[in-house]
């Protein structure tokens, strides 16, 4: 974004206008990316689940393997009547999907798509993500309560309990990486994972960079719970609570919840890639073709997206393989398994750092 502002001011645009313009442009790009990527992910998930379940999935809309199915669904959802239950608290009901979607949007600010390619390189990058992602649950509770439906309220309460308990292991498991790098800045974390580790060409955090395998697994599990994915999708467990907090939503408001869910999935995967899997690092094979300015950026985006979408594929894989946990088992896993493990990981990392300094 700073880059855009500089360019604009260099062309003689007033600073205020340049700032506002750059903000709007970046927002538009991100919203466009979220919508397109989420639609693609929905289609992808449907195809993956279908092929895992000896089905074919959508095959008709758009010709090749039903690629336009999600677009058709999206158009349908946009055109559907927006039903607000008479007994609902209309203001809160209308605000809730906006809150959920806006927080999903806001987390994209610190996603480092490539070298220098991020909306704003915040000093408190990781902390920013953690705090913003905790806002999602507010929207969920608003939705659940304002629908005035008992299933929604139950879903919202489950969601609140889940988010509060899984935020703790999520933060603690990330702390190991932050201690090693000594910074909360996303680009610094990626920079720290440069180089090689022994015979392996990667110095990623889960390899030589810090041996954060345990931290990675803890983070991934907690992150699955944070974005309500199977096996932790109890806030919207369809066989228990019908659809949980968004039972009463329809049309565009429902689609906002839906898009936000997939947008969150991508952010969670992107953060995991940045923190543990070397971010946008990978063999730069396009520089000879595109030149030294554009080449690394394209390669970075390519590797970043590849890694992120691989993690998303794993999330989908888990969803279609595992059964759902029960509420008490979820709490048990969060507080009595994940939290101790991530604390041990944190302690071990600290010890390792101290010993390394002494040597």
């Amino acid at each position: 974004m700073d880059f855009l502002i500089e360019k604009a001011t260099a062309l003689g645009v007033p600073t205020l206008l340049a700032q506002v313009g750059a903000m709007l442009a970046v927002c538009a790009v991100i919203i466009l990316y979220i919508s397109v990527a989420a639609m693609f992910m929905i289609w992808w998930e449907r195809k993956i689940s279908a092929h895992m379940q000896v089905r074919l999935g959508p095959m008709r809309v758009g010709g090749w393997h039903g690629w336009a199915q999600s677009i058709a669904d999206g158009v349908k959802l946009l055109l559907k009547e927006d039903i607000i239950p008479t007994q609902a608290d209309k203001l809160v009901f209308a605000l809730a999907p906006i809150v959920v979607f806006a927080t999903a949007l806001a987390t994209y600010v610190i996603v480092p798509f490539g070298p220098g390619l991020m909306v704003k390189d915040l000093n408190i990058g990781v902390l920013y993500y953690i705090s913003i992602s905790s806002l999602t649950v507010v929207g969920i509770i608003m939705a659940g309560w304002s629908s005035n439906n008992k299933y929604s309220v139950l879903g919202a309460m489950r969601s609140a309990a889940q988010a509060v308990s899984y935020e703790v292991p999520l933060v603690v498991s990330v702390l190991g990486v932050i201690m090693i790098v000594g910074s909360l800045n996303m680009q610094t974390i990626v920079e720290h994972q440069a180089g090689r580790w022994g015979p392996l060409p990667w110095n990623w955090m889960i390899f030589g960079g810090g041996l954060q395998v345990v931290g990675f697994l803890c983070y991934f599990t907690a992150a699955l719970a944070e974005c309500n994915r199977m096996p932790f999708d109890i806030p919207e467990a369809e066989s228990e609570l019908v659809a949980g907090f968004h039972v009463e939503y329809s049309g565009i408001r429902f689609s906002m919840f839906f898009l936000a869910e997939y947008a969150n999935m991508f952010v969670v995967a992107a953060i995991a890639v940045t923190m543990f899997l070397g971010g946008w690092r990978g063999p730069d094979f396009v520089s000879p073709l595109l030149g030294a300015t554009l080449g690394p950026k394209v390669a970075g985006v390519f590797w970043f997206l590849t890694k992120s979408y691989f993690l998303i594929f794993v999330m989908m894989w888990l969803r279609w393989t595992l059964a759902r946990l029960r509420v008490d088992q979820l709490m048990h896993l969060g507080w009595k398994v994940l939290l101790p493990i991530s604390f041990i990981n944190l302690g071990a990392t600290g010890l390792w750092l101290v010993l390394k300094d002494m040597r």
Partner: protein
């Protein structure tokens, strides 16, 4: 805006009011993805903990028994299909057997073998649906599609025999209307081979999954004594540790000629009921194989009078359906219509034990317990 206000209870029904005032009343159903039809459970919840549960039935009531009293004996057969629509063969069988007992007709041996083969295939199909939907209730969607794939094959076999895929109306009083088609034997054998190879696959996906085990073990327990006093039958009773299978304990037809295990559970929880059905799925395949091997040639229809008019009397016939003891009780007054016609449906009796199973469970367990009873509303509401 009071989201947790108490539901107004129907007249004459009352929960004992709790002292804490924190309870919440939730209607689960009649439109709910996990009640397997139009069952309505009124749950009293404390947070997620189930304090009490009243099942409400009757949303699918069709006056089956009253209709039966106004039809003649042959006309009732197609109606019985609609009782337990996931195991129609057994409804036919139980009803036809009742009339045969009433009239003293003995169907020919080949017809008996056909009935066993079709019945056990039907048990496989019914348990497959149950396994799929049970997995779905606990959040595993994939097993559902896998089970439906195999069930489709069973339905293909049934279609080749009877021309129907769901409501067969294929049994006749005194025998069977037509023989198996030529292709049936090879198709059936190849299906059984395919099917037996799939069972370990289900185990890997469901039985061996730790999350699934944790969800199923130790919840919804029904003690041996309770199971007997609630008159439960079928896998629910066997899951509670009672070795009671009508095929073994009251061998009707030719069931004394086959070798099969009757699995029983120990603790009577959801897991035990799951394992009982899971093993029955193998045993049924064994029975079909034995029956195919032993199958004699000969008539398929016994000597039956032109008009079916049993002498005055009453009879109760029972078979072991996938859900338990399916019984038909018929009182004849010598006319072509039964004087009284009543169905003892196993799912209805088993469902009555749900409140005992659910005490102290969480809301999520409610779904698992309900799934483990394996209800079919067509049979419960009749």
């Amino acid at each position: 805006m009071d989201a947790t206000a108490t539901t107004t209870l129907p007249q004459g029904i009352s929960f004992e009011r709790g002292e804490t005032g924190e309870e919440m009343y939730v209607n689960m159903g009649p439109q709910h993805p996990s009640t397997h039809g139009v069952l309505r459970l009124l749950l009293k919840l404390d947070g997620e903990l189930i304090k009490d549960c009243i099942p409400y039935i009757g949303y699918l009531h069709r006056c089956h028994e009253k209709i039966g009293e106004n039809r003649n004996y042959i006309q009732i057969i197609p109606y019985t299909d609609r009782l337990d629509y996931l195991a129609s063969m057994y409804n036919n069988w139980s009803y036809v057997k009742a009339v045969e007992m009433l009239m003293g007709i003995k169907p020919p041996e080949r017809a008996e073998y056909m009935r066993v083969i079709l019945g056990e295939l039907q048990r496989i199909a019914s348990h497959l649906i149950w396994m799929g939907t049970f997995g779905l209730d606990l959040g595993n969607f994939t097993i559902f599609m896998y089970c439906f794939r195999e069930r489709e094959m069973v339905l293909d076999l049934f279609e080749s025999v009877s021309g129907q895929r769901l409501n067969y109306a294929f049994f006749r009083i005194g025998g069977m209307p037509m023989d198996f088609p030529e292709t049936f034997y090879t198709d059936c054998v190849s299906f059984l081979e395919w099917y037996k190879a799939r069972l370990p696959e289900y185990d890997r996906l469901l039985t061996d999954n730790v999350i699934f085990q944790k969800r199923a073990q130790g919840i919804g327990s029904l003690s041996r004594e309770d199971a007997i006093s609630y008159a439960c039958s079928g896998p629910v009773l066997r899951g509670s540790g009672v070795r009671w299978d009508l095929r073994r304990n009251d061998p009707y037809g030719i069931y004394d000629r086959f070798e099969f295990k009757v699995p029983v559970g120990e603790r009577g929880d959801v897991w035990d009921r799951y394992m009982v059905r899971r093993i029955e799925m193998e045993e049924s395949a064994r029975i079909v194989e034995q029956a195919l091997a032993q199958m004699p040639s000969g008539d398929i229809m016994g000597k039956v009078p032109k008009t079916i008019k049993p002498a005055p009397g009453q009879v109760y016939s029972r078979v072991e359906s996938p859900r338990g003891e399916l019984g038909h009780y018929i009182v004849s007054d010598g006319t072509p219509n039964p004087y009284r016609y009543r169905v003892r449906s196993p799912a209805y009796v088993n469902l009555s034990a749900i409140a005992a199973m659910l005490k102290g469970c969480l809301l999520a367990d409610c779904v698992a317990v309900l799934g483990s009873i394996d209800i079919v509303l067509g049979e419960i509401d009749r």
